[in-house]
Symmetry: C2
């Protein structure tokens, strides 16, 4: 199994990308790492590591797409960029199983959609981070977290189907789907929610449990949160900001008294562990669900640990047949006479 | 100055509402408390307190609207409810300066709009909590946090004008307005955002600073966050849930080691202070901005401290001429030839 890695994506690329990938290779022996990017630079950096040379390949790509570039334009104008070259390989080589990039989110999404292609029947793929919840070891999938700012009800229905396929693939039994809304009652929601609610109730192969509010996202009661990419992005980032703010304010408060300082010292390792646990970027990347092969978008600020997690996630997902599971969910609806 | 208080609104009414109001009267001597609700019950409860009888009035209202009732139906069918009676008094009595309720949010909003009335020119009033930010003593106003699930660009423009008037009234100089979006770049956003962005750029009397992301809401960089009531509700509640989750997970982590337990004991008062500081419900209620007099919606779970804060907030706001300031902002736009 070959995992393609964008060696020139992310704030700390290529150094940290290569370091993290080598580290992932040590932990999992069942894949070949295919670095995509400037060959000489990658070769030079690899010289600093001891690794199994038979398990590393390099595909040369002289160009790089930056985060400042308009994604659609960049994908069109830079066919020799690491992202475009990787997607071409992913599409054409049956051995290429998944792709990991910490580069421009927009370019990865546009590239995946245009070059790798959507799963037949899926109109809009979604970018789906796994977020740790209050229940230890339990994650929640946010569908969509920003790939589609404007959605129609059919998109949200497909997010529910894809999210269920994804959750089942990672081992969740009968995963619960919640519709993000401004209240738990069925009557709550905006026009989009009102339209999709009965569609979710009638859909086959999903376990729809009704509306959930922002405050319930992390409670661990549902496995999949369905919403448009605008609201999903607002939710994910609001959570990120709240945790960051709380830890910051806490630090200041702790330092303001002598008793607090001592307590803070004793809890230092606990806080560190916690901050790491709650930072979803440490749990690998966000899966771009709805394209033909697994595409993992790691955070732009990823260092080696985050890259390692994302590569190991890609190896795992390559075995999960998520695309096939999604096709199965879609076919269930067609049998029911619904147009999806 | 008379402050109307819904004695029969909230999970802990009427007991905690009366206790909190009496406590507010002790702190501020410049208002008369007008309780609206079942007269005999209120009188009986008041007997347990020492207070200036000349500063208390009761307006009898035999009916109560519960949170389970559909707001529009309840407002129409229960003219003798505490909410309806209070809004009638607020509209007709020039001495009645503001209204505080911890009752059904929907009924308070519908009642305020239908019975008290919107400020001329404002198409949609907004429910606006003040949220504490990472900067000590600095709050951010969320406009709208749930009154209007579906919004047009004109509504968002008016939220920006009203939010600026509100922030200026509470003493913020040249308050910064941010548009909530899924990215900071101007190009980011959904169709609604794209439509309103240039309107905000061209509006007079506001200090529009561009897009802000969910993660920046609590950073303290902007004073007003403008968004539709659906996304605003998602943001506010996601923040609430994240803080709740973090404190919960922290508690578990702290208790899991001996060192942690000792540290936790030393930090107990710090955590308590922090939880209180970050809970925006302790900072008074959310102002329903855009109706003719100040209407403060306290949280349904408010106990005496929260009610006290909301009553004191109502007294302060009654002096702020927020409605006049909003009219002024509107007139600025009309002079500029824009249709608002």
């Amino acid at each position: 199994m070959k995992i393609l890695i964008d060696a020139f994506g992310g704030d700390h690329s290529p150094e940290e990308v290569i370091a993290g990938t080598v580290s992932a290779m040590e932990e999992n022996k069942n894949f070949t790492a295919v670095f995509v990017g400037k060959k000489d630079v990658i070769e030079n950096l690899l010289e600093g590591y001891a690794y199994d040379k038979a398990r590393v390949e390099i595909i040369h790509a002289p160009d790089v797409i930056t985060c400042e570039e308009e994604p659609t334009v960049a994908i069109r104008r830079k066919p020799e960029s690491s992202i475009c070259v990787a997607f071409k390989e992913l599409k054409e080589n049956p051995e290429a199983s998944a792709f990991v990039s910490a580069g421009s989110t927009g370019a990865v999404l546009v590239g995946a959609t245009l070059k790798l292609g959507r799963i037949s029947g899926i109109s809009r793929p979604a970018l789906c981070p796994l977020m740790p919840t209050a229940i230890d070891g339990k994650n929640v999938i946010m569908m969509d977290s920003g790939a589609n700012a404007d959605c129609k009800s059919i998109n949200l229905l497909q997010f529910a189907l894809m999210g269920t396929a994804y959750a089942e693939a990672v081992g969740v039994k009968n995963p619960k789907v919640g519709l993000l809304s401004n209240g738990t009652e069925k009557e709550k929601g905006n026009a989009l929610n009102h339209e999709v609610y009965p569609m979710l109730e009638n859909a086959k192969g999903i376990n729809f449990v009704g509306n959930i509010e922002g405050r319930d996202i992390l409670a661990g009661d549902v496995d999949i949160v369905v919403t448009d990419g605008f609201s999903g992005n607002v939710a994910v980032k609001s959570i990120e900001g709240a945790i960051k703010m709380l830890l910051k304010v806490m630090k200041t408060e702790i330092k303001s008294t002598f008793k607090g300082k001592i307590g803070g010292l004793l809890l230092k390792s606990t806080f560190k562990k916690l901050a790491k646990k709650l930072d979803y970027n440490n749990h690998g990347g966000a899966l771009f669900v709805g394209v033909n092969k697994p595409v993992i978008k790691a955070h732009g600020s990823s260092k080696r640990a985050a890259i390692k997690a994302a590569v190991l996630q890609a190896v795992a997902y390559a075995n999960f047949d998520i695309a096939d599971r999604i096709k199965e969910k879609l076919s269930l609806q067609e049998q029911g006479g619904e147009q999806v």
